[in-house]
Amino acid sequence: MIDPSMTATAQPAPPDYWSMLFVFVLATFIGLGVIRRVSRLLYTPLMSLTNAISAIAVVGSIAVTGAEYPVTIRVLGAIALFASMTNIVSGFLITDRMLKMFKKQ
């Protein structure tokens, strides 16, 4: 069963999923290497920091919210954008607040 619209629409260059997978595997290894060296004292701020960083999903939300799409789609995007932005703001702020408290003497 081939959808006729599939052949009719002009298709942009297909994304290279293999290179994405490649990037994912490499990034995971870098992540494991870097995180393993994180000070055990700082696991709580580490978690709020990585939270904020993974809220990079905000770029996906911006693309869905801001483009010329049907309103319902953009509403979903806007909620996602709000959720990611909350994580960015609270994540970085609370990480800094906690890290400020770690003093040598």
């Binding site: 994304p15 770029v59 909620i79 959720a83 932005m85 909350t86 609370i94």
Partner: protein
């Protein structure tokens, strides 16, 4: 041109994120981590925002403003509430991934069916399942941590629970396969909603059998899921920056989960499907011995005569808000030339590293905070082990009592110290419901009462005593 700018921005942001995590290896450089992270985020957001296809700027500004309005107060919660905030942010991360996945699917369905290739729909399904199960699972975890009334704190179990849970997940994945094979059929949209519903349900079912003692592990696992859902979003949107940042988050969650599991001598499957906190019957240990109670005066004297004091704090200390009094005690003792160290069990507190943050807030220098593995060899030289609100992490039964739920869990060797002083609120057993023979040992003296009040009295006693000399 704009494409090149976006790519350069993504590479720059990736590098900054990796540096950010790298700087977390030492408290001295850790604050650079935040600067690097914020800069990377700013670069990525601006580069995306100025792409030509972004036309509705008003919506973006409003959503960002709303994020600030909610995010700023969330960053100001008391440090005892940081685990809840963290769980909540995993929920937000999962929600964003789930919603973007849903939006991308229906966008494809209504606007451009050619985009719904098998690979892309697979990625969307993975994103939506991971996203929504992380969303509800993390909300449940946050509710349990916040001790919301209508979410049971104790693990909820019923016969066949694991079969039901796995069944729900398998059903969601099976429907996912159906949508991948027929992405544009007339009924595909309904099937997609069913997948969302099952994922939402699975998140709830996954967390209800998990008890409070396992929260540090569960938060770490949910952290990993939140990262993976961002990775899946990266695959859907063909965005390598998302894949990288998500992978960094996912691997961080994975490492923390492994550390937490090891610290409790449990496996992943055991945490997720074992329903900790239900099976254990109180293990009777030998004959019932009696507590020996010590007075504040006596305890102060013991501390004064010590040369090495190891404080073993548990979550009970934070609940009693005793950490600032502990700091005063620390001052009184160090003033006398006594070495004071804090022995931190990896699962002390309610999330990884929680106890360190609570003590740092009380201005205790981080050089005095020592991990379990480093302090245990020194415990026989320790004159006084002061146990404050900790229980299971100092229970010697973990070494030999097979059948005890904490059997095999590495513990801080408080019992090997020359003298043990234990501050305990009541004579009830701890979180896991197990008797603790440490408290009835020959060299253990108990101080019953609220940790903050007891330590306050100790400080007063020590301050008064030094005034006489």
């Amino acid at each position: 041109m704009t494409y090149a700018v976006a790519q350069v921005a993504a590479i720059l942001a990736t590098a900054l994120f990796i540096f950010s995590l790298y700087w977390m290896n030492d408290p001295k450089t850790a604050r650079h981590a935040v600067v690097a992270g914020v800069t990377g985020m700013l670069v990525a957001v601006l580069a995306t925002w100025f792409q030509p296809e972004i036309v509705h700027h008003g919506w973006i500004v409003l959503a960002i403003l709303a994020g600030f309005i909610v995010g700023v107060p969330l960053s100001l919660v008391p440090l005892t509430a940081v685990p809840q905030r963290t769980a909540l942010s995993h929920a937000f991360g999962g929600l964003a991934a789930g919603l973007v996945g849903t939006a991308e699917y229906f966008l494809g369905l209504t606007e451009n069916p050619a985009q719904l290739t098998a690979f892309r729909v697979s990625a969307i399904v993975a994103e939506v399942i991971l996203g929504f199960l992380t969303f509800t699972g993390s909300l449940m975890a946050a509710g349990k941590l916040q001790e919301v009334k209508w979410i049971p704190q104790r693990p909820v179990t019923y016969p066949g629970q694991n079969v039901v849970n796995i069944g729900v997940l398998v059903a969601a994945v099976a429907l996912g396969v159906v949508v991948v094979m027929h992405p544009t059929a007339a009924w595909s949209g309904q099937v997609f909603y069913a997948i969302v519903g099952l994922a939402v349900l699975f998140g709830v079912l996954l967390i209800i059998p998990i008890g409070g003692a396992d929260m540090p592990t569960v938060i770490s696992i949910l952290n990993s899921y939140a990262g993976l859902s961002a990775v899946a979003m990266g695959f859907v949107l063909n965005n390598k920056l998302l894949v990288t940042a998500g992978a960094l988050d996912g691997s961080s969650g994975l490492i923390l989960s492994i550390i937490m599991c090891r610290a409790m001598n449990r496996s992943f499957t055991n945490v997720l499907f074992g329903a900790f906190g239900t099976v254990q019957k109180t293990v009777a240990i030998g004959e019932q011995k009696a507590w020996k109670q010590e007075t504040v005066e006596g305890a102060a004297q013991l501390l004064e005569q010590a040369s090495l004091v190891v404080v073993i704090p548990g979550y009970g200390m934070a609940v009693a808000q005793a950490q600032h009094k502990v700091r005063e005690l620390y001052d009184q003792l160090t003033k006398r030339g006594i070495t004071v160290k804090f022995a931190i069990h990896p699962v002390a507190g309610r999330m990884p590293g929680h106890m360190n943050v609570l003590l740092a807030e009380a201005n205790i220098p981080y050089t005095a905070l020592v991990e379990m593995d480093e302090i245990n060899p020194d415990m026989p030289q320790c004159d006084v082990a002061l146990v404050i609100g900790a229980n299971d992490v100092v229970n010697p039964a973990a070494r030999y009592a097979k059948g005890s739920p904490i059997y095999g869990m590495p513990i801080i060797d408080a019992d090997k110290a020359k003298t043990v002083l234990a501050i305990k609120r009541s004579k009830n057993p701890g979180f896991a419901g197990i008797d603790n023979e440490l408290y009835v040992q020959d060299n253990t003296w108990m101080l019953f009462g609220d940790a903050k009040a007891v330590i306050g009295d100790l400080v007063k006693q020590l301050a008064g005593g030094s005034g006489l000399h």
